[in-house]
Amino acid sequence: MSIEILLSAIVDGIALGFVLLMLSLGFSVIFGLMRIANFAHGSLFTLGAYLGFEVASRTGNIVYGLLAASSIGLIGLVIERFLLKPKRDPMMQVIITAGLMMLLDRLAWLRWGDVPYIWIPKGLEGVVRYGPIIMHSYRLFIIVVGIFISIVTYYLFTKTRYGLFVRAGIDDREMIQVFGVNIEKIFTITFAIGSILAGVAGFLLVPWQGVYPLIGTNYLLYAFAIVIIGGMGSIEGTIISSMLVGIIQQLCAYYVPYLSEVSIGIAMFLVLIMKPEGLLGKVIE
């Protein structure tokens, strides 16, 4: 086991961690605030990947790709406003989001088929050497973009008026209304922000792992594991567990590939036994 490979695996793990963070943060906050396990979240990740791919591969500009992926927020807004808002019943919302997951994945399959698509932005194809460490340029790019988006999102949730209402709403979504907050508006904004993050995360993964119809649903399993490990609705917990899951997954992918999928399950299993509410979670009544 050489130190060079270990460091490369950790860098890749951090890059994957940021993608997972963007996917899971929206999923976790939506669950914490709205008590919805949004099964369609992974499909929004897939749609973001396809939309970003279509625009970026045609224009050759990654920024346009990111903007196209962000437009998934509009789809999220429509889903929340017209499908989830009319009936705030937990079972109904599970059925609606699970149905949407199947529908969107199937539509993606009909439009793009089973073939994975990949597009690598110019200038980010190669590797960067730093001493003995060899790092893929694109994965470093993900880390830079990931840091930027994470800081903006963290600022939004912890330093703004909206973020304060979201955190108060996660604690008690009924009581925050008693002070004058229109919680329905907060639900819609949060769902749209979660969808933007999912769409951007999906597109960021295209140059690394490509895009295929079930990629989002596969990654949704990671998001489930991350929110369970970090604690449902906990922003800090989601950050820590995303990095943890990204690094564990990549270490296993480098050294024991046949364990890379199972390793996350084992981590989740251990957390559930030792701390059922998650690393930084709280018991939700």
Binding site: L164, I170, D172, E174, I176, Q177, V178, F179, G180, N182
Partner: protein
């Protein structure tokens, strides 16, 4: 004096159970109104209906001339109605100061105005200033209740306070602090509906009161009348 709250024939049913079976009363500006009754009489349900958590089956709630019977809680809050729940329901993961800040920003105040109001609240409850960085979940029961009340009375637009057993289970020190705050609200002309099980609060604040029994008002009068009535004192407070 000006009538601010008119409740007419309010009926609430939850599933097959009729909790409120036609409650009516009027409140004038600055009046303190106590609700008394055994467990399950419908006191808390009445407050939750007034705040907007429970939709009534029939009847009406009119506040300052506006029919708010089916308005959501946030619309009522913007009219100056605040609620102090009996089980505290603080924003547990937020600090004491953020609990106060969230409640003030929610009504649309700017951050600087909200901070001014928080300083005012700290002058009423100096202990909260000392504890401001702590998470609400780290406070003792009495401190949590202080914050629960402070969060509601921090509002500069407070007109109607609905408090559900605000001093239940508190030590005498905390009871006297909370009573002081209530007295100040009375001076400021805030109308209050207080669900209470302790006669000491009624002695101190005086006003009107009603006894709820099985979802109906069975007695309405002044607190003095109630405190003099031996049968009521024995039946509802275990005191003769």
């Amino acid at each position: 004096m000006l009538v601010v709250l008119v409740i007419s024939d309010l009926k609430v049913h939850i599933g097959p159970l009729y909790i409120l079976q036609g409650v009516s009363f009027k409140l004038r500006k600055g009046e303190t109104f106590f609700l008394i009754g055994r467990n399950g009489a419908g006191k808390s349900t009445l407050l939750k209906t007034l705040v907007g958590f429970i939709k009534p089956s029939s009847g009406s709630i009119v506040f300052e001339g506006k029919d708010i019977t089916y308005q959501p809680p946030y619309v009522r809050a913007r009219l100056g109605i605040r609620y102090v729940p009996d089980n505290k329901r603080l924003f547990a993961s937020l600090s004491v100061e953020d609990n106060l800040l969230a409640s003030l920003l929610a009504e649309g105040l700017s951050r600087s105005k909200a901070m001014d109001r928080i300083e005012y609240v700290y002058s009423l409850f100096p202990d909260l200033k000392r504890l401001r960085k702590l998470k609400a979940s780290q406070l003792s029961g009495g401190q949590q209740q202080m914050l629960n009340l402070a969060r509601a009375i921090a509002s500069p637009s407070l007109k109607l306070l609905l408090a559900d057993e605000p001093v239940e289970g508190l030590s005498p020190i905390f009871v006297s602090k909370i009573l002081e705050a209530f007295s100040k609200l009375v001076e400021e002309g805030v109308t209050m509906v207080i669900v209470e099980t302790m006669p000491v609060i009624m002695k101190k604040l005086s006003g009107r009161c009603a006894i709820l029994n099985a979802g109906r008002i069975v007695f309405e009068g002044s607190t003095e009348d109630l405190l003099k009535n031996e049968i009521i004192m024995k039946t509802y407070f275990g005191l003769a």
